[in-house]
Amino acid sequence: MAAVKTPKPDELIAIRYAPPETPWMETPTVFRPGTWSYSGGAKSLTALGLPNPRAWQPPDEDWKLPANWQSIILEGLRERLEKYRSFRLFMDICVRCGACADKCHFYIGSGDPKNMPVLRAELLRSVYRRYFTESGKRFGKLAGARDLTIDVLKEWFYYFYQCTECRRCSVFCPYGIDQAEITTMGRELLSLVGCNINWVMEPVANCFRTGNHLGIQPGGVKDMLEFMADDIEDKTGVHVEVPLNKKGAEILFVTPSGDYFADPGTYTCMGYMMLFHEIGLNYTFSTYASDGGNFGLFTSHEMIKRLNAKIYAEAKRLGVKWILGGECGHMWRVLHQYMDTMNGPADFLQEPVSPITGTRFENARATRIVHIAEFTSDLIRSGKLKLDPSRNDHLRVTYHDSCNPARAMGLFEEPRYIIRHACNHFHEMAEDTIREKTLCCGGGAGLGNDENMEMRMRGGMPRAMAVKQVKEKHGVNRLACMCAIDRATLTSLMDYWVPGVTVMGVHELLANALIMKGEKERTTDLRGEPLEGKAADEAL
């Protein structure tokens, strides 16, 4: 299938919020090119032992479902209603007040009413009513109930894969109804009959086997890290070591594999390595736990657990004291809200204490994993780092709160503290678009693939426009974030909506400013771009 051309920004921004003439139950779903993702490949499903591996694509008429697909779905629905209070409650108590409706970036960017969180939920809720409530059974459509037909299933697929599980809607709902939770259930149900997307299933299959989503084998991980170490030496004159699978290290460091695979994530990874070298941290990377990220989150609770198990297992095998986690969004949703419950208790680890500052990370005393922003801001606060923020004077920085650290952790101040100490020009975006109200990059939860480009650009539009505003007002040219998915998806998003703004991780910014022992005079940043003032000096 050839990639479709995404319409021009001028065309995309012509959004109408008027709903169609036909009621939503009677409006058919059209799989328009550029707005959906390829199906999960049979090979990946087989490797993971998941049901109904086959060749099919969403626009196909025949989805090749098992004959009893309806009963599989309904049985799956019943099971989940019994296992999750969240799900049952969210099915029951929505008053359709519409407070969440225009909070979803996909609705803001597309105007499609089924992208309103409340309606996205009704897609599933209507079926719940029909089979699991008395009024729905008796009064059918009058009670907002409808049969589970193949068209309904296709509609689910289309719209549950147009939700990035960002939880923005949940912030605004008076009952905290979280569409991400409902989308998760919807995706689990779809997966029961073999309907998945490839951009989730292939990484999951890779991750299960090789420890990371990209399928990089042990030697490859080592090569990439060493390549980065060489690059660091070129830029700074300092040789940093690459501890890997090291038994007896004090700390296991896990980070999303995007960080050592491609620009601009690699610069962030170089940032970590420089920082750890500078403070003399006794740590190790791992090839087995070579991805803290977890695309299981985008397919089912069971898969989260299957992929996450390696982290504690590896920490135990290597005999570390505690775990440090790098910059990533969805990875932190899992580490913060699921890991301990699923794969704990972490009683073989110790309560985390910074070996450099002696600070005890009380907030991580049970799970025993510390976020790198917590770790680094503590270093700065304790005066353990020498920073020269003027080395970032060529950058006008703004900061994007990634959805999961924002709305599932409340990690707001730590990264800002680092940024303020690492650069001189930091400008926040508009109040309604940051912190707990942050707007998604449009490509999270497995949707960051190329075939889905139009929908990504639509979903990312509200974020992009907030960046555009600070670009015009303050000359912002760099978008900092703390998420590996963001570093990839925001890059395309900026190219499309706000050309001239590039994307970086917070630890890249820090590393630019970090004065290292024995370094040579730096004339460029980690990307090889000349530092302000330095280039002018040379020109003289």
Binding site: L81, V95, R96, S170, T359, F412
Partner: protein, 329 residues
């Protein structure tokens, strides 16, 4: 259309109530049997629904955080938006219950000059709150029919509510407020295209039924006065299990009662159960202390994982080639 279906339903209710008013047997049914039936369904249904929710476990702690977490001691935490202990959770819940905190965040969006612009949209919050608080006050005021002698706090509530002493009998502020609140909610649903699009029959029905109750109540108070002594006798009859058919209460009263009983019977199976559900919502009523305290999942079952041994088994040669340590040579 959904609105029309809801209107028809309310109309049918009104007509049946009129029918009841003119038939002695039926009005006996309405005033002596139905009160108990409706009340039983309401209480029983309410408890059933709560128990059903409560019985479903909370496998994961999925708090939605709307403020700074508790982390390093020098970073100020936001206890009401990201609570990390029970007290803060209670504070957060109280804000939601009494002030509709989350609804207060509401904004609206429009594309202006090729860019989304977020405007403040507190009207829903304001009228929503107005409606709910006045509903609470009105329900409490009704207790005067059921209690003899009337306890002082109900009396003071009524006095405060009628503070401005406009008209005879005094116009209650809560009555004005509830009409304003419900009218706003209803008009909003009818006129905002997006809302009309998502509205089900039951959404209109809820508002129309409540409006019906309020309107008939106001009619009785200000235009077709019902004999309050008889009403009180009837209500006292219910609570003392000696219901007597009322005299001189008027047709409107029958409609009022029919609406109220419909509300009570319908309540437990409707979205109005948000009243109970709001207390149980896991994104709001759990502390964001995930890494401080382990949360247990009662059905946490083992899953198929890929162990280190299996991993090394597959990649041992490559690991050795790359100079990486292995467990088994």
């Amino acid at each position: 259309m959904n609105l029309i279906a809801a209107l028809i339903a309310v109309l049918i209710l009104t007509l049946s109530a009129l029918g009841i008013a003119f038939s002695a047997t039926l009005s006996f049914l309405l005033t002596a049997i139905l009160p108990y039936a409706a009340f039983t369904v309401f209480i029983g249904g309410f408890i059933y629904r709560i128990v059903k929710w409560a019985k479903a476990p909370v496998p994961f702690r999925i708090t939605t955080t709307c403020g700074q977490q508790t982390s390093l001691p020098w970073i100020k935490n936001n206890p009401l938006e990201s609570p990390s202990n029970v007290w803060s959770v209670m504070g957060r819940m109280a804000l939601e219950l009494f002030l509709f905190r989350s609804l207060f965040r509401n904004t609206d969006v429009a594309i202006v000059g090729q860019r989304p612009v977020y405007g403040s949209a507190k009207w829903l919050w304001f009228f929503g709150l107005l409606f709910h608080w006045s509903l609470l006050i009105i329900v409490l005021r009704h207790l005067r029919f059921f209690i003899e002698p009337i306890t002082p706090w109900i009396k003071s509530l009524s006095t405060i509510d009628g503070f401005f002493e406009i008209g005879v009998p005094t116009l209650y502020l809560s009555d004005v407020a509830i009409v304003a609140g419900l009218t706003f909610l209803f008009l909003r649903r009818m006129t905002v295209p997006r809302l009309r699009y998502i509205s089900l029959v039951t959404d209109y029905f809820a508002l129309l039924l409540l409006l019906g109750i309020v309107t008939t109540g106001l009619l009785m108070r200000h235009f077709f006065p019902a004999d309050l002594l008889h009403v009180k006798n009837l209500a006292l009859g219910w609570v003392t299990f000696a219901p007597a058919a009322p005299k001189g209460v008027g047709t409107v009263f029958y409609i009022h009662l029919s609406f109220v009983f419909t509300l009570l019977v319908w309540f437990p199976s409707s979205k109005l159960m948000h009243m109970g559900g709001i207390f149980l919502s896991p994104t709001r009523n759990l502390a964001n202390d995930n890494r401080m305290k382990r949360h247990l999942n009662p059905w946490n079952a083992p899953v198929k994982v890929h162990t280190y041994e299996e991993y090394e088994e597959e990649f041992r040669d490559k690991m050795k080639l790359a100079g990486l340590p292995v467990e088994k040579e």
